[in-house]
């Protein structure tokens, strides 16, 4: 694109503003690279990344809470499709977010690699020679010493080496330098950020994470089909899942019953589980708590949530038991008012469905109707609403186990009134028209178990620790240069000029010079030009 506007080859004419020099593709690429790796662009990319991360905290994210996204889409039918097109529900997986951090990391590499080369040279180089006129430096002392010139330099060199300065000595001068660790820290910090990126990518490629609802008394076997939700890394073969199994023997949640305002707040969750590492291993029993995961076959098992599963028995019109067992209900509020459905496809004469609420501590609210007043099961009850017709299961289309497909179903009515009832344990809801009956037998609990394995963790941890150590070095280590020059005094002693220079102002340079001068012995007519004076009060 540059060759068309190659005005630079035209005969020299007098122009007011010279046109920009023409750039061939190579120059253009080089120019773009220089821009990208410049500090200014790095700065802009940092801010851009910060801004780009914000929408993900405002809009619900699919990878965090897909249900919240569905609710949001339903509540905002107008804007949601547009937000979706802009990846607002998956900000951290979106192309534009990826573009910003990939550019930032390219910019980082492009900046840090050449700097590392320079730094390696600087470390190997000798400390810069003493300037001709030391008295012009920000800090300067002149003293006379009784020792001879080489004696003075010996003392100074020993003192500086003890303070970890690199020292270069000539016949009458001493050049000393320290603080390369600052730039080392800076560079290592940036490389450790790369390491963190690699660790995160590694975990995403060869790790996996899944969740499953496990009902009290039931067993979870670690195979793909048993998961409600499994997200394996791109390079992870789900056939490699370790063959353990976990049975939930008991789950107990303790809630605050006293303390007024804090009533109902969770105090303790304990899941008692029996597990086998593999089908051939012995059974072992242990507990899983919120901050105490179970490690099994390289994977970690976390307790993420819990709920209630009321137990029902359904008899159909023929008097056959067509359904029996616990049904997990999903908590809807902090008092665990839980919603769920019972599907009975085998009932005759018609398929039956029940929409229900489980109320761990049932009360009848004058406005809300039956609701739960406490998350613990102090007065458990269920409310059921009966439906008849076609559940839509036979079509083979997968459907949610927590919702009824009501398209081909009707409310079961008795004298025109929908059949709905509150049931305590052992209570029976009789259906009219010879449809059958449902018994609420009691309840068990369920837990939401998360199984995960992330092989990127050691890399991430190494990167993080390295980052923290190196960023501290890059901020706290002070770069300093000191010089000594000795000259024979007119009398017997030696005149010593000492001067120093800090890369950053405001340090203890003056103090260090004074201490060095004191080491040399007698403090003579010390002249000092102070710039880095202490902060005024």
């Amino acid at each position: 694109m540059g060759s068309d506007v190659a005005t630079s080859t035209a005969a020299p004419t007098i122009t007011h503003t010279p046109p920009p020099p023409a750039m061939g593709p190579l120059q253009l690429a080089r120019w773009a690279w220089r821009q990208l790796t410049s500090m200014r662009v790095a700065l802009i990319l940092l801010f851009l990344l910060a801004v780009a991360a914000v929408p993900g905290s405002v809009f619900p994210q699919r990878r965090v809470d897909p249900l919240a996204v569905a609710d949001f889409v339903e509540a905002n039918p107008g804007t949601a499709p547009w937000l979706d097109r802009l990846s607002m529900f998956d900000v951290y997986g979106s192309p534009w977010f990826g573009a910003v951090y990939v550019l930032l990391f390219i910019s980082l590499v492009g900046c840090v690699v050449p700097r590392s080369r320079h730094h390696l040279q600087a470390i190997r180089a000798r400390p810069p020679a003493a300037p001709r006129r030391l008295e012009r430096l920000p800090e300067h002392r002149r003293v006379t010493s009784d020792r001879d010139a080489q004696g003075v330099l010996d003392v100074a060199e020993a003192a500086l080496r003890a303070k970890r300065y690199r020292v270069d000595r000539t016949a009458d001068t001493l050049a000393a330098e320290r603080g390369h660790l600052r730039e080392t820290g800076n560079l290592v910090f940036h490389f450790s950020l790369l390491l963190i990126l690699v660790g995160a990518a590694l975990g995403g490629l060869v790790g996996y994470r899944g969740t499953a609802v496990v009902v009290e008394g039931e067993t979870f076997a670690n195979t793909v089909t048993q998961y409600d939700d499994l997200s394996p890394g791109r390079l992870y073969d789900p056939a490699d899942l370790p063959p353990f199994s976990v049975a939930l023997d008991d789950f107990e949640a303790v809630f605050e019953e006293e303390r007024g305002s804090q009533r109902g707040i969770a105090r303790d969750f304990t899941a008692v589980v029996t597990y086998r590492e593999s089908p051939d291993d012995d059974e072992r029993t242990t507990t899983i708590k919120v901050n105490e995961p179970l490690q099994l076959g390289g994977a970690k098992l976390h307790l993420l949530g819990h709920g209630y599963a009321p137990i029902f028995t359904v008899e159909d019109g023929d008097g056959d038991i067509v359904f029996q067992g616990p049904v997990p209900f999903l908590p809807q509020d902090k008092n665990f008012t839980s919603a769920g459905v019972v599907k009975v496809p085998d009932a005759v004469p018609e398929q039956l469905g029940f929409q229900g609420f489980f109320l761990p501590t049932a009360i009848i609210d004058t406005e809300l109707g039956p609701t739960s007043a406490f998350p613990g099961a102090l007065n458990p009850a269920v409310v059921l609403l009966a439906w008849r017709g076609d559940l839509g299961i036979d079509a083979g289309i997968p459907q949610s186990v927590y919702q009824l497909d009501l398209d081909n179903m009707d409310k079961v009515t008795d004298d025109g009134q929908p059949v709905s009832q509150i049931l305590g344990a052992g209570d029976i809801l009789e259906l009219p028209d010879g449809l059958g009956r449902i018994t609420y037998d009691g309840y068990v609990t369920w837990i939401n178990l998360q199984v995960s394995d992330n092989p990127g963790l050691p890399v991430l941890l190494t990167g993080s620790v390295l980052a923290m150590v190196s960023v501290s070095l890059s901020l706290f280590v002070r770069r300093r240069r000191l010089w000594f020059r000795v000259a024979a005094d007119a009398g017997a002693g030696t005149v010593v000029d000492v001067a120093g220079l800090d890369r950053a102002h405001g340090g203890d340079l003056a103090d260090e010079l004074d201490a060095l001068v004191r080491r040399l012995g007698e403090v003579g007519s010390a002249t000092s030009t102070m710039e880095g004076s202490p902060v005024p009060r």
Binding site: L43, A50, N291, N454, S464
Partner: protein, 330 residues
Amino acid sequence: MSFAALSNLFMEAALVTYAGALLAYLAEILFASRQDRDRAAELVGAGAAGRGTSTLVEAPAHALDGHRAPTRWVDLANRLGRIGLTVTVLAFSFHLASVVTRGLAAGRVPWGNMYEFSTMGALAAVAVFLVVVRVYGLRWLGVWVDAAVLVTLGIAVTVLYAEAAPLLPALRSTWLVIHVFAAITGSGLLTVATIVTVMYLAAHGRESRLAAGAAPKRLDAYAARLPTSTALDKVSFRLYAVAFPVWTFAVVAGAIWAQYAWGRYWGWDPKETWSLVTWLIFAGYFHARSTAGWKGRAAAVVAIIGYLSFLFNYFGVNLLFNGLHAYSGL
């Protein structure tokens, strides 16, 4: 008396004492500005007299007995400032006692809900301030630190208060002690650093107006008593330089805890997102300091935006968003 009640009593004592310290600091400013006005008047009087006009009689009475009066104001202002600092130390002791007894009442570390985070954060800010006074002698910071602490504690006591109680199961971990302590220490450092940065902007504004010969603004009278902008920039940088690794550690410790408790080290929870946003902005601040055109004023503004992001991460995210850090206890 129970530890919980004792803690509340100490908190009240701390509030009253901080308010007292604030009054002393405000009086210091008042008398110091009185001295400025007197000196200005004196200069006007002296200048007028030098030009041989007869306005000498109109000069303030104290101008006649020389410079004794201004010195008296200065002495008084200094004494009030020292009183303010002493009272702040006393308030800090009450504050510390309140936090300790709160921990004893709950039988755990006293940082488990927003009331406790806020009181601990304010305590950290005062601790940082006291260290800064010792190292740099910046006593004049006291008025702003005290004001910020009073506002924070006021919100904590009125809006965020929650009874001393055991921890939520999700918080019951050694990592709570480490992660939250780091975040609180970072908050104290960031708060004091940002106050210094705002003062830097005031001093910088005054200096550039002076250099340009522009008319001084009303606040310049106050800015005139601040250290030079160079010195302020230095102090705020030092504080941010300590705060940044501490904040980094808080984020990393949080990720380690999240991995341990939830099986994922990073899940883009709003709190995680905003702690990263804050971290990125402060990373930007350090880069800005060594970028041509961004040094000084622009870098200071970046740091202030970083602090606002930190504040939002604390108040906004805890109260507005329904994330995994909804531990406000409200």
